[in-house]
Amino acid sequence: MTGSTLDPTKTELNYHHADEVAAPHGGEHHDFRIQGIIVFLIAEGMIFLGLFMAYLTFRAVAPTWPPEGTPERELLLPGINTIILISSSFVIHNADTAIKKNDVKGLQKWFVITAVMGLVFLVGQIYEYFHLEFGLTTNLFASTFYVLTGFHGLHVCFGLLLILAVLWRSLKKDHYNSQHHFGVEAAEIYWHFVDVVWIVLFLLLYIL
């Protein structure tokens, strides 16, 4: 029967069920999963955009910004943190390049480095929280500061989980090769997204 549901030559159309039979690692036929990640990140970006817009409006309406009596913020630690996070975006890109050359060891190495850098960023942020001289409810600036950085921190945590999951799969199950590396790409795209958001955040909350 031509064009049957289980004809492997037909699977590249859209047929995920047959795909599971034909290609257990779910690789090349699933090229639309990348589009899924991109579309999802548009939604994520819109949450941040909404929060940025709220921040900018508060700032535009307030007579002074930050409000009177907000303690000065240290720039050194978040500056170092920013450099670490931005560099990690370049590091994770090496992992993607490695797996496209079938270099699983390279993938694991670069992922470990990225994960460590992400972890350092998070620890740095928590350290900063404990040493800031304002709390969540001190004033409007403090509230937006904590909500924006905290929400971004949550995204870093999620990105870390993603990286660790991919790492675990590559170690335990030999899951990725030059053909099948959706998980690697997804983690990479997500990590870049988190970085870009941080750059905007850093400019808004620390520099401008």
Partner: protein
């Protein structure tokens, strides 16, 4: 590979041994079949529609007399708040997008499922807990600040109910975002070969526009609700003026979602109407591209008009002008659609069955809502009628006269495909007439009430409004009773309805080329596009599917075109034994 072997292997690969109808338990499981999920959405949201209707009836009972006599003021506030929340977030949005969208989009584009089936199931299963949680809030103090939940009122009004409202709406928003991601990727990547963008059925275009809108607007509401929950629970003051916050920022963020939300509610219905009219008028759709692209135009414009809800919130005049003009401009793409629909009906051989009646009822009622919409878009008029019953009338003409009429049209159109059985036409017509009378009786007088100055969201009013309010309340009761013929009809049809056959209406879109209900992966073989989706009476006569004009229950009609279409799609499929079974059952 023989048919039996094929079927067996396909079952193992996919969803277990059930094919098409069969085991009812799958509707209570984490099924990844888009058709099961679509029906799960439709049934769940319809139950919430009934709950919302009960709440509405309670509201109208209170308003039947000018005094506060039926419920307390606090309970009254909760009744209209939960009524609106349920109807918007648990009925119209998920029924149009999640329900009909899930059921129809893969069928219409010839795909076997959505792009991310598990994500799809997850998006559905978020909804029941969120809805049940909202209902249970009545036991701990239900939210009572209106469905807009404006601070600072919502921050002082009873925290438990408000927190539940926020969490519930956040969950429903998450579900909506996940569904939108799925639709966009499905439509983008999974169309059957040969179906370019301009061969897509119009419902698919509408779902594309809807999903894009949901994807962009919903997260902003999530952002607003996150900030509101911080204000409520932790005591920050983003929106609390006493702590330096600005409640207007909440209104901006809220309406950035909630105005587009009305297009999220109406665009899928526009799409369904564009499918229903040509089938029952037996004519090609008029202005395919105009209808398709106007959906996108509505999406785009829908994102830049939100502040027309805030003309009385101290918006500066120059900004009001911008929002007034953009709001009025939306009437243009909407008008293009209405004219295209009318031109489609014009000169057609109309089959006035229930689906068509509801579709035409939709056009007339929606046009009234659209005209009052242009009226309230004008700043001076809006300032006069702001927060009066005129606005209540307008929004109900758009959301009930528009979305709900359209959803009913969709039910009558596609339930035969979903269940494989026809609905009862006389009962459907009774349903339509009762709905039309009840609806207009309930909401038409509200225009006058609003112009005369009756405020919305009040339990007690000036006795001079008593007569018209009584008329509204009686209309609301008729509207409530009008759902019974529909429920009876569906229940009767499930067990006793005549077999529908593959193509009871003689449609040309792909969902009619598979069996009713469709098998697990929709098509026996990848369907081949033989005609455009609306080529009724067009093209070469030898390849023409000619459907005689007759009642839809006519066995020749329900069997004839489907087998000829299927024969064209794949000669092997036409000889499928199920077909002959369906045909013989019809002839009995």
């Amino acid at each position: 590979m023989t048919q039996a072997q094929l079927q067996e292997t396909a079952n193992i690969a996919a969803h277990g041994p059930d094919v098409g109808g069969g085991d009812w338990r799958k509707y209570f499981s984490f099924s990844t079949d888009h058709k099961v999920i679509g029906i799960q959405y439709l049934v769940t949201t319809f139950i919430f529609y009934l709950i919302g209707g009960v709440l509405a009836t309670a509201v109208r009972t209170e308003l039947a007399t000018p005094e506060v006599d039926f419920v307390s003021r606090e309970l009254y506030n909760s009744l209209f708040t939960v009524h609106a929340t349920v109807m918007i977030f648990l009925w119209i949005v998920p029924a149009g997008t999640g329900g009909f969208g899930n059921y129809l989009v893969p069928l219409l584009i010839g795909a076997r499922d959505m792009a991310f089936p598990k994500l799809n199931a997850l998006a559905f299963w978020i909804i029941p807990p969120a809805g049940i949680m909202l209902m249970l809030s009545f036991f701990v103090g239900a939210p009572g600040s209106g469905w807009t939940s404006y601070p600072p009122l919502s921050l002082v009004n009873g925290k438990a109910g408000e927190a539940i409202w926020i969490l519930s709406v956040l969950l429903l928003g998450t579900s909506s975002i996940l569904a939108a991601v799925n639709f966009l990727v499905t439509i983008w990547k999974m169309r059957v070969p040969g179906m370019g963008w301009n061969q897509m059925p119009l419902f698919v275009w509408a779902m594309l526009a809807t999903s894009a809108l949901a994807l962009i607007a919903t997260p902003v509401l999530a952002g607003a609700l996150i900030l509101l929950s911080f204000d409520l629970i932790i005591g920050t003051s983003f929106f609390n003026p006493t702590g330096g916050g600005d409640p207007i920022v909440y209104q901006h963020l809220f309406w950035f979602y909630s105005h587009p939300a009305v297009y999220i509610m109406i665009l899928p219905v526009f799409g369904m109407i564009s499918e229903i009219l040509p089938v029952h008028a037996r004519k090609p759709i008029f202005g395919y591209k105009a209808i398709a692209y106007s959906s996108l135009a509505i999406s785009f414009l829908g994102l830049i008009v939100w502040a027309h809800h805030m003309f009385t919130s101290g918006t500066p005049p120059w900004l009001r002008m911008f929002f007034m003009i953009t709001t009025m401009v939306i009437a243009v793409p909407t008008g293009i659609k209405v004219f295209s629909w009318l031109a489609t009906i014009w000169g057609g051989k109309l089959r006035l069955n229930s689906a068509m009646l509801f579709a035409m009822g939709f056009i007339s009622m929606f046009v009234i809502g659209g005209i009052s919409g242009v009226m309230v878009a004008a700043v001076p008029f809006d300032i006069h009628v702001h927060d009066t019953y005129f606005v209540v009338a307008h929004l109900h003409y758009v959301l009930f006269g528009g979305s709900v009429f359209g959803l009913y049209a969709g039910f009558y159109q596609w339930i035969p495909k979903m269940t494989g059985r026809m609905l009862n036409e006389p009962l459907g017509k009774i349903h339509f007439v009762m709905t039309l009378i009840g609806f207009n009786m309930a909401f038409l007088p509200m225009h006058k009430l609003g112009l005369e100055g009756m405020n919305r969201r009040i339990a007690e009013y000036d006795p001079k409004f008593a007569t018209l309010n009584l008329v509204c309340s009686i209309g609301a009761y008729i509207l409530a009773i009008s759902t019974f013929p529909f429920i009876i009809n569906v229940c009767w049809s499930l067990f006793r309805g005549p077999k529908a056959g593959n193509n009871p209406w003689g449609g040309l879109t792909l969902e009619w080329m598979t069996s009713s209900p469709p098998p697990v992966e929709n098509f026996e073989a990848d369907p081949v596009l033989a005609t455009g989706p609306y080529d009724y009476g067009m093209g070469d006569r030898s390849t023409q599917v000619d459907v005689p004009f007759s009642e839809p229950s006519d066995p020749d009609l329900s069997a004839g075109p489907s087998s000829s279409l299927r024969a064209k799609a794949d000669p092997a499929v036409a000889a499928h034994p199920d077909d002959r079974e369906g045909e013989s059952a019809n002839r009995e």
